[in-house]
């Protein structure tokens, strides 16, 4: 019923194309995240969907309602879109109590006093803030304000929920709790949701699907597992999690696998979805947690010696900065080896090969 469809959306500021012809669909009840670094166009996209900014081209529809259509000049202002937006700053009105903040959207819809009270009870119950109904926003903590902001958008049952980095003002511990809670709430309310963030952990934990944005375009749109395991390009591999990039030249190419010479330091077998020819310069992305440290005598493909340059203790695990020839990369381990020379093994299925030209 309430499916959000965005087609060919563009928005320029001067010479900068902030959003460069993007398309995506959010199914009814789905949780989609727009993920990307600052300046990638995710907030501009959200503002266009919310009606706070008028795009230059494209079409935005929610269910049967056309919000924006550059072709016939349709632009429905924000207040008539029946959507809910939770701001990064929460934007609770400081002169109104929590209850009055929730009441305002209901008054705008001419809802009777009795029904108003009941809906406010419901919405505050949903976010577990019933006890704070008569407080003013300044008397609430950041986490509480964020919940009230959410309740204020849910109270009038919008057709679409938009969240603009709502967790970024919370401290790390609280953020994790809020994340779990938000996911639970969304699956309970079943409202179509678009979430904007630059935090990849948040995106992976919350979303049904993630649209990774870069330079005003969608670089990849897929479920969190696919994004993490099979990033479409080097930018995504780098942005999601922390990837190592090993540079080398293709020596042999077979169906689905390639052999890469890491500039003399080692030979690496990796899967490759693209057809590559021998002699191509490539970058192989490998996640630190996928690299194993093996016993010195171990032989086999994808095992090679490295020297440890730096050891960092991070509590639950350690990271080692290692070097093989000119290639420097990171390895994770529970126990720090006592020697500086170790052998590592990269599983043959782990690496993802990107031609050097295709990277950014």
């Amino acid at each position: 019923m309430a499916e959000l469809v965005v087609n060919g959306l563009t928005r320029s500021f001067g010479d900068v194309r902030a959003v460069d012809g993007i398309d995506f669909t959010v199914a009814d009840g789905e949780f989609l995240t727009l993920l990307g670094p600052s300046g990638c166009g995710k907030s501009t996209t959200l503002a266009a969907v919310a009606g706070l900014d008028k795009p230059d081209g494209g079409r935005i529809t929610l269910g049967s309602d056309v919000f924006f259509d550059a072709a016939d000049g349709t632009f429905v202002p924000s207040e008539r879109r029946e959507i809910g937006l939770v701001f990064q700053s929460y934007a609770l009105w400081p002169h109104l109590t929590v209850r009055q903040n929730l009441e305002f959207p209901l008054k705008l819809r001419n809802i009777k006093r009795k029904d108003r009270a009941q809906r406010i009870e419901e919405a505050l119950g949903l976010v577990e803030m019933t006890a704070y109904a008569d407080r003013y926003p300044h008397a609430l903590s950041g986490g509480q304000q964020q919940r009230v902001a959410l309740a204020r958008t849910l109270v009038y049952r919008p057709g679409l929920l938009l969240l603009d980095e709502p967790l970024s003002n919370l401290d790390a511990k609280l953020r994790e709790r809020a994340r779990t809670w938000l996911r639970h709430l969304q699956s309970h309310v079943r409202v179509t949701t678009v979430y904007v963030t630059h935090d990849q952990a948040e995106a992976l934990a919350l979303s049904d699907r993630i649209a990774v944005m870069n330079g005003g375009k969608i670089a990849q749109l897929a479920d969190p597992h696919t994004i993490y395991d099979r990033p479409a390009d080097a930018f995504i591999a780098d942005f999601i999690g922390s990837s190592n990039f090993l540079c080398g030249t293709v020596t042999e190419a077979d169906h689905g696998t390639v052999k890469v010479d890491l500039d003399g330091a080692a030979a690496l077998i990796a899967p490759s979805a693209r057809p590559l020819t021998a002699g191509t310069r490539v970058r192989v992305s490998v996640r630190p947690e996928q690299i194993e440290i093996v016993e010195p005598g171990t032989a086999g493909p994808n095992v090679f010696p490295v020297t440890i340059e730096e050891r960092t203790f991070l509590g639950a695990y350690n990271t080692l900065e290692v070097k093989a020839g000119e290639n420097a990369f990171r390895v994770e381990c529970r126990r720090v080896p006592d020697t500086d020379m170790i052998h590592v093994h990269i599983p043959e299925t782990a690496g993802i090969v990107f031609p050097e030209t295709a990277s950014r």
Partner: protein, 574 residues
């Protein structure tokens, strides 16, 4: 698909009549009309050879030729230039020195001085001019007293230099205001840095502190210069007896000294003055443009350290106290004392001349009481109407999608460059140009309109920064939950703006209370205000009632300022 679209229930709320654009257009047109209303007739009349109500009038530049040929024009311009420069220099020197003493040193009694140095800002120049006249004029109390001791005339206020000194001291509070704000905002790190590299306090003061105050000083110089050029009160009171003419008094006499005023000549002269002031305002804008170099506000709570005066502390205290006593307390106190006497002179014992007659006279002559009530009515109602308009202009200009919002802001701050004198003449002409507005003539509504136009930039300056401080997400969130622009403005933005609106009201009230220049051309029997009546009766030599009237104005101001601060918690000037 079209059928699908029709059958599915639409959640988008139906479009009502678009009241938002209608309100925005209305606000913009009102503002435009208000500002254009007085300027256009002046421009038009300046190039007409006959009064603009005359059907046979035709375009001509003759007015400007006649203006140049006016016999004493050279002398008038010379006097005006000298007066304006002297006023500005005196005002700035006193303003900067007092601001540094109060704002940056450990001089005793800072709170008291801070208050006393600002107070004259609340009062009309006319009141201050009468105060000077009463105490330091040729037969003033202090003048007579000093002459009694030294045997000769100690000074002569009835010269251009005398006027410049009086006007400079009258304008010093404005220079003080800009500079004291600058001293509060200074970044203490900059001075500490100078201290760590071994600079002495005096060196820090001259090489760091003063240069950082430069934007405030430049701003003050131009404001004071403009005000000096436009000033009517002091030149009229002190120049009148010996017929020393400045540009404004020349205009005043052109209008009121003739049986049939020369409309074209007055308009041409007004246009010259208008262009001069516009030019100065543009210059000010240019000079202030690069002031990023001096922006030191970091939003920190810490304030710069105060310079220690050491053994000079009490010397400075004595000098500042003497200044405040002579320039503020003696003048206002003397004026009030004068209102309770038949005749104020050191030659007569005070108890022999004490009387309530002056106040009795205020009560018995309708014109006195009427001007008091009119003034209060204009200030109370006019400031309220003005505040509403300014609030609307501010939210349309800063918080709407209105197409011409930037232009609206320019129009709203334009009156800053229109001298009150010219606003008055312009509206006076406009009355003849637009006959349907005739019903406004001779009513206090006309004065209210003129005052609101004139102080639009003042009020806007109080509201607009407060609006800029208000996060944009607060109104955007109201829009997303379903409130249109007008509902958002009413329910969210304006309530959050309340403190600034109170300040705006207070500022307008005070300005409307003290304004008289604009009214000089517009009042008629029935719509007199305190200022115009004071001027009229002073011309007749009725100094007793005039000082009583001035005292009433001081009293209203004191009561209002105190109440606004105590009850509403309003901040007026900082």
């Amino acid at each position: 698909m079209a059928i699908d679209a029709l059958s599915a229930p639409s959640r988008v709320r139906a479009r009502r009549f678009d009241r938002n654009t209608a309100i925005q257009i209305l606000v913009a047109l009102t503002t435009l009309a208000l500002v254009v209303f007085p300027i256009v007739p002046v421009l038009y009349q300046a190039v007409l050879d006959r009064p603009l109500y005359d059907a046979n009038a035709s375009l001509s530049l003759g007015n400007f030729v006649r203006l140049l040929d006016t016999p004493r024009m050279g002398e008038v311009l010379q006097n005006t230039a000298y007066f304006a420069v002297l006023t500005t220099v005196i005002a700035q020197v006193i303003g900067v020195v007092t601001a540094i003493l109060v704002g940056r040193t450990d001089i005793p009694g800072r709170a008291f001085f801070g208050e006393m140095l600002l107070w004259p800002l609340f009062l009309s120049h006319l009141v201050i001019a009468f105060g000077w006249f009463t105490m330091y004029g040729p037969s003033g109390y202090v003048t007579m007293f000093v002459r009694g001791i030294i045997g000769v005339e100690p000074w002569n206020l009835y010269t251009v230099t005398g006027m410049g000194i009086a006007a400079g001291i009258a304008q010093a509070p404005l220079a003080y205001l800009y500079c004291i704000v600058a001293t509060r905002n200074a970044d203490p790190n900059l001075e500490d840095a100078a201290r760590t590299v071994g600079a002495s306090p005096f060196r820090i003061l001259t090489r760091i502190t003063l240069p950082l105050m430069r934007p405030a000083i430049i701003f003050g110089v131009i404001m004071n210069f403009v005000i000096a050029i436009e000033m009517l009160s002091i030149p009229l009171v002190f120049g009148g007896p010996l017929q020393i003419e400045l540009f404004t008094t020349y205009l005043y006499h052109e209008v009121f000294g003739q049986t049939t005023p020369d409309y074209g000549l007055v308009a041409a002269a007004s246009l010259v003055l208008l262009l001069l002031v516009v030019g100065l305002m543009v210059l000010q804008g240019r000079l202030m443009r690069n002031n990023q170099r001096f922006v030191t506000v970091g939003g920190k709570a810490s304030r710069p350290r105060r310079f220690t005066l050491g053994r000079w502390r009490w010397v400075a205290f004595g000098v500042l106290l003497a200044y405040v006593v002579l320039a503020v307390i003696v003048i206002l106190g003397g004026l009030i004392l004068r209102s309770f006497t038949v005749f104020l002179s050191p030659l007569m014992p005070l108890w022999e001349v004490l009387t309530f007659d002056n106040y009795q006279m205020l009560l018995s002559y309708p014109v006195y009481m009427r001007s008091i009530w009119n003034t209060i009515a204009i200030a109370t109602v006019g400031a309220a109407i003005g505040t509403v308009l300014i609030a609307l202009v501010a939210i349309v200009a800063n918080r709407s999608e209105f197409r011409w919002r930037r232009q609206l802001e320019y129009v709203a701050i334009l009156p800053r460059a229109i001298p009150g004198f010219i606003a008055g003449i312009g509206i006076f002409y406009a009355m003849s140009l637009f006959p349907p507005l005739g019903w406004l003539r001779n009513t206090i509504w006309l004065l209210m309109i003129a005052y609101i136009m004139r102080y639009l930039p003042t009020g806007y300056g109080a509201v607009s920064p407060a609006l800029a401080q208000l996060g944009a997400d607060l109104d955007r969130s109201a829009r997303t939950v379903g409130a249109d622009w007008w509902r958002t403005s009413r329910s969210i933005v304006l309530p959050l703006l309340t403190p600034a609106l109170f300040s705006c009201y207070a500022l307008l009230f005070i300005h409307f209370l003290k304004e008289y220049v604009t009214a000089v051309f517009l009042f008629a029997p029935g719509s007199e205000v305190i200022g115009t009546t004071m001027l009229q009766f002073w011309t007749n030599g009725d100094n007793g009632p005039v000082s009583a009237l001035a005292s009433v104005q001081i009293l209203i101001t004191v009561v209002f300022v105190t109440a606004a601060r105590k009850i509403l918690g309003v901040k007026i000037y900082g």
